[in-house]
């Protein structure tokens, strides 16, 4: 199956207020490289889009190993944003991204507002890049105060600075590890974010009961995989309810078309698939195909027909975040 079905008039294409993708299923940051390595495992031209592994200004060596541990229905990782820095990224991955023919979202990370700004400047004219994802929510940073998405005023500073320096639409990638994600999303949108990506990994930890030691060298790490999907669905739902019209890309624990459709119903305009790529390199393509079949079976013409279509019983009490 291709990205559209002429017979039923179903198209998988989505338009996030001007940022278009051939399918609503993108590969999530840090789980697909820039697509170069994955090109050996699947036909990358068939996927809806790629969010690059986060790029920082200088080379970042990352954290010691073990960097990963599998847990029930998920995994913890603590990579620490290892990447060769923006210069080598441009030299090595730039030409690949330019020739790919798949929309690419460039993920940028940094320890300071200046670093985000500098990378945004240096990547201004990258062919093939359709948007920027500001990774202001990576849990594996030296200090918690570097998680800009935990503080509205810091999130505003990063997003406002980046949107001033680039003509590309900026998506703010947020964490659910906050008291009120709507407040953070709202702050980012007011600072100029085109949309939000919800959610990053959740800060987690695992201990080996034989050795009494943390199972990650960095002690804590980001939880991803199936286990986090209900949290991500909740975040997408809350933000979609509060900020109608703002493009939301949902991510967290998607491995099947039904998982992705759940995100669309909660209010996502598109989704990203992360950890599932490790188990199944074809996951993004298969999930998009499955969404197409779901739409066709119901006579729907577009993934947008599902976005935010969750039905609420009138008897359900207002969630607490509304009064907060």
């Amino acid at each position: 199956m291709t990205t559209s079905n002429g017979d039923s008039g179903t198209s998988l294409a989505v338009d996030l207020n001007g940022v278009a993708f051939p399918t609503p299923v993108l590969a999530a940051s840090g789980c697909f490289g820039s697509g170069r390595e994955m090109a050996a495992a699947l036909d990358v031209r068939r996927i809806g889009g790629i969010v690059t592994k986060s790029v920082t200004l200088g080379p970042t060596k990352g954290l010691p190993t073990p960097r990963m541990v599998e847990v029930d229905a998920g995994m913890l990782n603590a990579i620490g944003l290892q990447n060769p820095g923006v210069e080598e990224f441009l030299a090595k991955d730039g030409p690949f991204i330019a020739s790919l023919g798949v929309p690419v979202i460039l993920s940028i990370a940094g320890k300071s507002v200046q670093e985000f700004a500098q990378v945004a400047i240096q990547t201004r004219d990258m062919p093939g890049v359709v948007a920027i994802e500001a990774n202001i929510s990576c849990p594996n940073v030296e200090r918690r105060n570097q998680v800009f998405a935990c503080h509205p005023e810091q999130a505003i500073e990063v997003i406002a600075t980046m949107t001033r320096l680039t003509t590309l639409p900026v998506f703010a990638k947020l964490t659910a590890d906050v008291t009120n994600i709507v407040e953070i999303a709202d702050a980012c949108v007011h600072a100029g974010a085109h949309g939000v990506t919800l959610i990053n990994t959740l800060l987690g930890m695992a201990i080996d009961v034989e050795s009494f030691r943390p199972r990650l060298a960095a002690v804590t790490g980001g939880l991803s995989g199936l286990a986090i999907r209900p949290v991500a669905i909740r975040c997408v739902y809350q933000v979609a309810q509060a900020l109608p019209g703002v493009p939301i890309i949902g991510v967290g624990g998607i491995s099947t078309a039904r998982d992705a459709i759940e995100f669309l119903l909660a209010g996502a305009w598109a989704v990203q698939v992360g950890t599932a790529n490790f188990a199944n390199p074809d996951a993004t393509i298969q999930i998009a195909d499955g969404i197409g079949q779901f739409l066709a079976a119901r006579g729907l013409s577009s993934p947008a027909d599902l976005t935010g279509k969750v039905e609420r019983s009138e008897r359900v009490a207002e969630p607490a975040y509304r009064s907060g």
Partner: protein, 292 residues
């Protein structure tokens, strides 16, 4: 890199280990010693990551043509499930992955050092080295005799074989590192290949570095994807200029590394104090020189 549904041909016990043979003609055709495969786990949604296994044998000719053999110990959910695989079951396999061992052009005498089931790829390597007219010696160590990996097969492949067990139930009592110096001297090994637990690799690599003997090691590190995108399986490797270092992916740039370039202290922590060793037995010399 090939992704294929592969039929299980056989599932046998091999000492304390499980030996699984898969029908995988395309992967077997490309596979080289030191490379690995990734096997997908069932879609039961409680665990999901592929499991990496080094290739023990890849047969291209004869009655086993087109098959791959892996050997493993049951250590967790993935291996417990795989140990129950039945003939005619099919598995989701990606491979061959990673960089293989390289063969010396000029140097001839090779010592292969293996620990536990980690020794598995050395048998494939020994065959390839022999096919290139190299002289192969082997030393294989394990905790006890049941964990000594295929000693008879080792004797078939190598000019000399030394076995060590920590409890002394087979061969020399002790670890491979206890007999390493004597073996290097007796065999006159010009190249060393090592595969097994990381602390063993470190001991072998550091000794070879001191003696200026080239040493290739196949490492093991926690791996989520095996495809080069997750950056979990990294090993700190010192640059060619001996100055800088970088965390290098063992799935694509490894799992075989030049032992002298791995920054062992950073990777595995400060070196532990040397274990109290018994003096190497006198008869070691005879055994090394004995031909099979």
């Amino acid at each position: 890199m090939i992704r294929a549904r592969c039929e299980v041909l056989s599932n046998r016990r091999s000492g304390a280990y499980v030996s699984l043979t898969l029908v995988a003609p395309e992967i077997a055709e490309q596979a080289k010693p030191g490379q690995f495969i990734e096997i997908g786990v069932p879609e039961d949604r409680t665990f999901m990551l592929r499991r990496p296994f080094s290739i023990h044998q890849a047969s291209r000719r004869g009655g086993w043509a087109g098959t791959l053999e892996i050997v493993f110990d049951v250590v967790g959910r993935g291996t417990a499930w795989l140990a129950e695989a039945k003939p005619h079951d099919t598995l989701d396999v990606i491979g061959p992955l990673g960089r293989s061992f390289t063969y010396p052009r000029e140097l001839r005498t090779c010592l292969l050092v293996g620990g536990g089931y980690g020794a598995a790829p050395l048998y494939f390597l020994a065959e390839e080295l022999r096919a290139r007219n190299k002289l192969v010696h082997m030393v294989i160590g394990a905790r006890d005799h049941g964990r000594v990996f295929k000693p008879i097969e080792a004797k078939r492949l190598a000019a000399t074989v030394v076995v060590t067990t920590e409890d002394g139930t087979m061969g020399e009592r002790g670890r491979v590192t206890d007999v390493l110096d004597a073996l290097l001297e007796r065999t006159g090994a010009q190249v060393v290949y090592a595969c097994g637990p990381n602390p063993m690799l470190r001991a072998v690599a550091e000794r070879c570095r001191d003696l200026q003997i080239p040493c290739q090691v196949a490492v093991e590190e926690m791996m989520a994807c095996g495809l080069g995108v997750c950056w979990t399986c990294v090993v700190p490797v010192i640059g060619m200029d001996s100055r800088g270092w970088w965390n290098v992916r063992s799935c694509v740039e490894g799992p075989v590394f030049n032992g002298a370039r791995v920054w062992w202290d950073r990777w595995l922590g400060e070196a532990p104090p040397p274990p109290a060793e018994e003096p190497a037995p006198e008869r070691e010399a005879e055994r090394v020189q004995a031909s099979p």
